[in-house]
């Protein structure tokens, strides 16, 4: 391991350090945002705001949280995740289509 760090050129090490710092900053930021979202969500329900406003807002917050989770904590923003993204969006599209069908022509 010691060999490994020594064999890398200095600028390489510095570049990686900078990358890691950047990564860390993003993760902490997203983490803080997610806690904030959770507080907002709970706060809205506790304050008994009109449910016509609360429900869509909660859904939007939930979607954003899932996106944060996938892209920042599970690294989907990094390279080499195109196929994963395609499959996930494909599956979500089929599931969405199914829900739309049920809501619009089965139960309507």
């Amino acid at each position: 391991m010691a060999d490994n760090t020594h064999s890398k050129p200095v600028h390489q090490r510095e570049f990686e350090k900078k990358q890691h710092r950047e990564e860390m900053k993003q993760q902490v930021l997203t983490f803080a945002l997610m806690i904030l979202f959770t507080l907002i969500a709970f706060g809205m329900v506790i304050m008994e705001i009109n449910s016509y406003f609360v429900i869509p807002t909660l859904i939007i917050l939930a979607v954003v949280q899932v996106a944060f989770q996938l892209y920042y904590f599970m690294h989907m923003k990094n390279k080499g995740h195109d196929m994963v993204a395609m499959m996930m969006y494909g599956g979500a599209a089929v599931a969405g289509l199914t829900i739309i069908t049920f809501v619009s022509i089965v139960w309507w």
């Binding site: 494909g90 089929v94 289509l97 199914t98 069908t101 049920f102 022509i105 089965v106």
Partner: protein, 622 residues
């Protein structure tokens, strides 16, 4: 292979070998044999249906038994014959075409097969335990939820188990194609068969969960007293229809797409030309896969979805004719000006084009929602889907089997017998199903066990039955050919057709590690590129070295056996809670095997460089 032949082994050792194998080539054999067996059972059921409808007011079989026959014919042919035969081709060919040594998850590959087989066996056990499922292959509620006896329970459990196997297989091939391509094998250099398997696997991944959900709801309605489909308790029968067809329509593309890919490879090989419009073909395949998810409700035009929904689905359905048309023309242009060799594989492929196109045209007719009210549930529909499934899938399977038989077994199927099998089948096919369009237009409904005299339906039905017998004769000649070839024919080289893709660069049948050295792919039709450069075989992409291979395992078999036992427990616990013992025993076996798999390290084994050098001397490198 050479070492395996040298050691004479007993039958017991061979059976054990096949029970535990994780080798994709042996799993292909397993799929081929079991799929072939179910194809014969399904064919027998078809013959019984046609004998019953040979003359008016026939009483060859009872009405109840007729319902069981049509249900089991459809279910068997789709789930237990066509799909496994396609999986046989996928297993035999895809890893070879992309230059891989095995699939991504060899253990799961074996698990997928055994789940399918036990599911299929379960479905067919119902014949001997008081009646097969009888609600049609679509199993519509409330016909299915109120069907007495345990027939439909067998349908639910059998398809649930085999469906899990198919889903596992589909995911396995997705990962294999994404991750295990040889160096240089970019997506746009993959042979069309591999491309279509890729799209098919995606469809399996997205479509089968809908079936799984539907079957679970059906299972709870029938076995545990829920009321998803019970209108009297606030349920809705239409939910089943939607779930079934959200799965069911992509399913028909799952069936046909791999064979579109096989036809593409066959046309280009036997025309000695590269495929015309390769990128358009890829685009069309992906587009068919995409549109395949947008059209399921065209099976339900008469349900009463309203004119807007009907119009949307009608237009989407007609749109599929466009990419399919692209494919038909590209196949024709591939042959145009080529040096066409009329082998049996080519004969089946050429016969496919007009046959499938007729099925496609009646498909567009059926897609017109207003007109569909006239065709719905008549023999016109039966004629249509047999034209696409038999004219497309079955012709394709015969063509692909002729084409890849030498790669799977080292021998070319006898050409004379191959052509002899083709003609009665081809003529019989058109005789059986062409007339059914007109029977349908004259008003003959589907799924009725008799028709009456003096309504102008007698002659048509008789002709149809005669055609069915011709198809049976063709199938028997093909089977004879298989036996004749294995006994009489001589071994051929690894490349009997002067092939273009990677599978023809290695011996037939391939050694169990496939490629001594992973090949370097330098273009579309990689072997042809090397041939045109005057080289013999592929350029290796790696030095000769040890090869890591997975170990055989009996666990996939025991996992599947557990679900089989638990399935019977679920079905019969309704009558007597003692059967819960079977549920617990079966699930215990399944989960115990899974636990064993997780805690026991299985790191596989290495084939050493020295052994490889021995093999090369015997010809493994060529």
């Amino acid at each position: 292979m050479s070492t395996a032949v040298a050691q004479k082994r007993g039958l017991g050792a061979m059976i054990w070998d096949y029970l535990t194998t994780v080798d994709h080539k042996k799993i292909a054999h397993l799929y081929l044999v079991s799929g072939g067996l179910f194809f014969l059972i399904g064919g027998l059921e078809a013959m019984i249906i046609r004998i019953q409808l040979m003359k008016p007011d026939n009483n060859f079989i009872s009405a109840g038994l007729y319902n069981e026959m049509i249900t089991m014919h459809g279910t068997t042919m789709i789930f237990l014959a066509a799909m496994p035969l396609i999986f046989a081709l996928m297993n035999a060919v895809v890893p070879l075409q992309i230059g891989a040594r095995d699939v991504a998850f060899p253990f799961l590959n074996s698990l997928g097969f055994w789940l399918f087989l036990f599911g299929g066996l379960m479905l067919n056990v119902s014949w001997f335990t008081g009646g097969a499922p009888d609600a049609g292959w679509t199993n519509y509620a409330p016909l299915s939820t109120t069907s007495p006896g345990h027939g439909v329970d067998y349908y639910v459990m059998g398809l649930q188990i085999s469906g899990a196997g198919t889903l596992i297989g589909g995911i396995n091939f997705l990962v294999t194609i994404v991750n295990m391509r040889a160096p240089g094998m970019t997506y746009m250099r993959m042979p069309l068969f591999t491309w279509s398997v890729f799209v098919t696997s995606t469809l399996i991944l997205f479509a089968f969960p809908a079936l799984t959900v539907g079957l679970f709801l059906m299972m709870f309605d029938r076995m545990f007293g829920s009321a998803f489909f019970d209108v009297g308790l606030g349920g809705n029968v239409i939910i089943w229809e939607h779930l079934f067809w959200i799965f069911g329509h992509p399913e028909v593309y799952i069936l046909i797409l791999p064979l579109f890919g096989a036809f593409s490879d066959i046309f280009s090989t036997f025309s000695k030309k590269r495929l015309f419009g390769y990128s358009a073909m890829v685009f069309a395949t992906v587009l068919i896969g995409f549109l395949g998810f947008m059209v399921w409700a065209h099976h339900m035009f008469t349900v009463g979805m309203g004119p807007i929904a009907n119009s949307i689905f009608a237009v989407a359905t007609m749109a599929i004719a466009v990419p399919t048309g692209i494919k038909i023309f590209n196949w024709l242009f591939t042959m145009w000006g080529g040096q066409i060799k009329m082998t049996s594989a080519m004969l089946w492929s050429i016969a496919f084009i007009p046959s499938f196109t007729i099925g496609g045209m009646t498909g567009v007719m059926l897609a017109a929602a207003a007109a569909d009210y006239q065709y719905h549930d008549t023999y016109f529909v039966v004629g249509h889907f047999h034209y696409v499934i038999v004219g497309g899938v079955v012709f394709g399977l015969f063509a692909a089997l002729h084409y890849w038989w030498p790669k799977m077994f080292g021998k070319v199927l006898n050409e004379k017998l191959g052509k002899l099998a083709f003609w009665p089948f081809f003529i019989g096919f058109h005789l059986t199903f062409f007339i059914q369009h007109f029977l349908g237009l004259m008003g003959m409904p589907r799924r009725y066990w008799v028709f009456m005299e003096g309504q102008g339906l007698d002659t048509g039905n008789l002709i149809s039955t005669i055609g069915a017998f011709l198809m049976a004769i063709g199938t028997i000649i093909f089977l004879t050919n298989v036996i004749y070839t294995s006994v009489k024919e001589k071994k051929v080289s690894g490349d009997p057709w002067d092939g273009r893709s990677l599978e023809w660069s290695i011996p037939s049948p391939p050694p169990h590690y496939n490629f001594v050295q992973t090949p370097l792919v330098r273009g579309l039709d990689p072997l042809w590129v090397e041939k045109m450069d005057g080289k013999e075989g592929m350029t290796p992409a790696e030095p000769l070295g040890d090869i890591h291979m997975p170990n055989a395992s009996i666990l996939p078999f025991t996992i599947s056996l557990g679900t089989f036992i638990a399935g019977f427990g679920f079905i019969y616990q309704v009558d007597d809670p003692v059967w819960l013992i079977a549920v617990f025993a079966g699930m215990g076996l399944t989960l115990g095997s899974m636990l064993t798999r997780s805690v026991k390290d299985d790191l596989g084994h290495h084939i050493h460089k020295e052994d490889l050098e021995e093999d090369i001397k015997k010809g493994a490198g060529k």
